[in-house]
């Protein structure tokens, strides 16, 4: 392992690897440290969705710009990341939800996004297997350029490209301490040695809180276990991701044919336990077959858990910590790290390599939680 680098990235998820790619491409010397294997955290457990329909301007902007990058990413990285734009259909269940949806659609349209508001009888034109009555839908919003990609392949493709540009990626390497000097980051201590560096990116997902704690920076992150399942492969049935904020369900059919989806179980509270539960399987199966009764004969093959690193406003913490020079946050994605990663990396590469701090980084800095009124993202699912 190298003993010195321009930048050390903690975390080998999609954000850590895409940052490593972006920074090495700019000519910087980058070392990534990952405590397990690449995509072993939230990235590898995620639902693969890529959505631009948000309730806050920052998230919508980050997502719209990310989709533009996703569209060209397979070509750019030289590996197929299985990006597909089948759209996101967001079910709306009552008048209040429709009011919120209309407000959000207006905001999204003002950013140039094409979003439609569907009447109940138009829902089956997008996803034919849905039972509109059974899901109690009074309408839906639909953005045709939303979609999904393969999170593993995206992460591996970023990592492979980063290695070609000279990044050193160390898996099964645990960070044991951060060293500082005169309120500046100075080195990262791992169980395999010390790396001297002036810049550390904390992209460790739910472990970001522990990492920041090593230098007494308090991140307002709470771990929320989420469960998600996959069925056997089926012939192509539908292209859109279907989600409902009221029921918390989301599901889509992936490129290989399996249906992947999740739902929160009502009794779930914040915590670090990872055991999958029977109540999830039952709740998911009941809700999914209520939305799409035709799926009742389809087999569930497996389900697994992952963590959302949730912030008080459900938006990520990005950029340099004010009190510690060189300590950069890239965490708190609250369940949306994969879909926002292309633009987030672009912004952080610009910050680290070119010292640029656009408004979005100011609005998403850690110091927004200090006594100010926060603009909470409402559109969180799963």
């Amino acid at each position: 392992m190298k003993s010195k680098a321009d930048v050390v990235i903690i975390g080998g998820g999609v954000n850590g690897c895409s940052l490593a790619y972006g920074l090495t491409k700019k000519g910087l010397d980058v070392v990534v440290v990952e405590k397990k294997y690449l995509s072993s955290g939230a990235t590898g457990a995620c639902g693969a969705g890529i959505r631009q329909q948000w309730s806050t301007v920052e998230n919508a902007k980050l997502a719209i710009e990310s989709v533009k990058i996703f569209e060209k990413l397979s070509k750019e990285l030289g590996e197929d990341i299985e990006f597909r734009q089948g759209g996101y259909l967001i079910a709306v269940h009552d008048e209040n939800e429709m009011k919120q949806a209309e407000k959000n659609v207006n905001m999204q349209r003002s950013l140039g996004l094409k979003v439609d508001i569907l009447k109940p009888d138009e829902i089956n034109d997008v996803v034919s297997i849905l039972d509109v009555k059974g899901m109690y839908a009074v309408g839906a919003t639909f953005c045709p350029t939303d979609g999904h990609a393969n999170p593993f392949k995206t992460t591996f493709a970023y990592a492979n490209a980063a290695r070609r540009y000279g990044a050193e990626i160390n898996t099964y390497t645990k960070v044991v301490g951060l060293k500082t000097k005169n309120k500046e980051i100075n080195a990262v201590a791992t169980d395999k040695g010390v790396i001297n560096t002036g810049v550390v990116v904390n992209a460790a997902g739910i472990d970001s809180k522990e990492i920041a704690g090593m230098v007494n920076v308090d991140l307002p992150l709470s771990p929320f276990r989420k469960e998600i399942m996959a069925t056997e492969r089926l012939k192509p049935l539908f292209e859109a991701m279907v989600i409902s904020f009221k029921d918390g369900i989301y599901f889509s059919q992936q490129q290989e044919g399996q249906i992947v989806g999740g739902i929160p179980i009502p009794e779930e509270r914040s915590g670090y336990k990872t055991m999958p539960t029977i109540s999830f399987m039952q709740h998911m199966a009941r809700t999914l077959t209520r939305y799409a009764p035709v799926l009742k004969h389809v087999n569930m093959l497996r389900h697994w858990t992952g963590f959302y690193d949730v912030t008080p406003d459900a938006r990520p913490i990005l950029g340099e910590v004010k009190e510690l020079k060189g300590f950069i946050q890239c965490n708190g994605f609250s369940g949306h790290g994969f879909m926002l990663s292309p633009m987030v990396s672009k912004l952080l590469v610009d910050l680290i390599a070119n010292h640029k701090t656009p408004d979005v980084l100011i609005n998403l800095n850690l110091d927004r939680f200090k006594g100010k009124k926060i603009d909470r993202e409402m559109y969180v699912v799963g």
Binding site: S39, F152, N299, R302
Partner: protein, 93 residues
């Protein structure tokens, strides 16, 4: 294509020994990374047929003993169960 000599490791996802060896050579030396790269163990058998074989190949290629090679995470329900069965007959309360 030398179809006749193609040894299948993962029947569900149609992955051959050559596919596994190629992925290991590309740097996917972790069982979970291999799984995520090739979809090994993601089919209806959930790894019952292939994972032991992949572990043997990994052991041979990397020179690490099996306990050092990571084990696959267990993901219920372990055998395929229909959504209708999981949902039960009763309506949700």
């Amino acid at each position: 294509m030398k179809e006749a000599k193609r040894s299948i490791i993962c029947r569900c996802e149609d992955i051959s020994e050559e596919d596994v060896l190629k992925a290991i050579d590309e740097g996917y030396i972790d069982l979970e990374e291999l799984r995520k790269k090739l979809r090994i163990g993601m089919g209806p058998c959930q790894g019952r047929v292939c994972i032991q074989l992949v572990m043997k190949i990994l052991e041979r290629k990397t020179g690490k003993k099996i306990p050092k090679v990571s084990l696959q995470t267990s993901r219920p329900p372990l055998v395929p169960v229909s959504l209708g069965t999981l949902a039960g007959d009763k309506d949700e309360k």
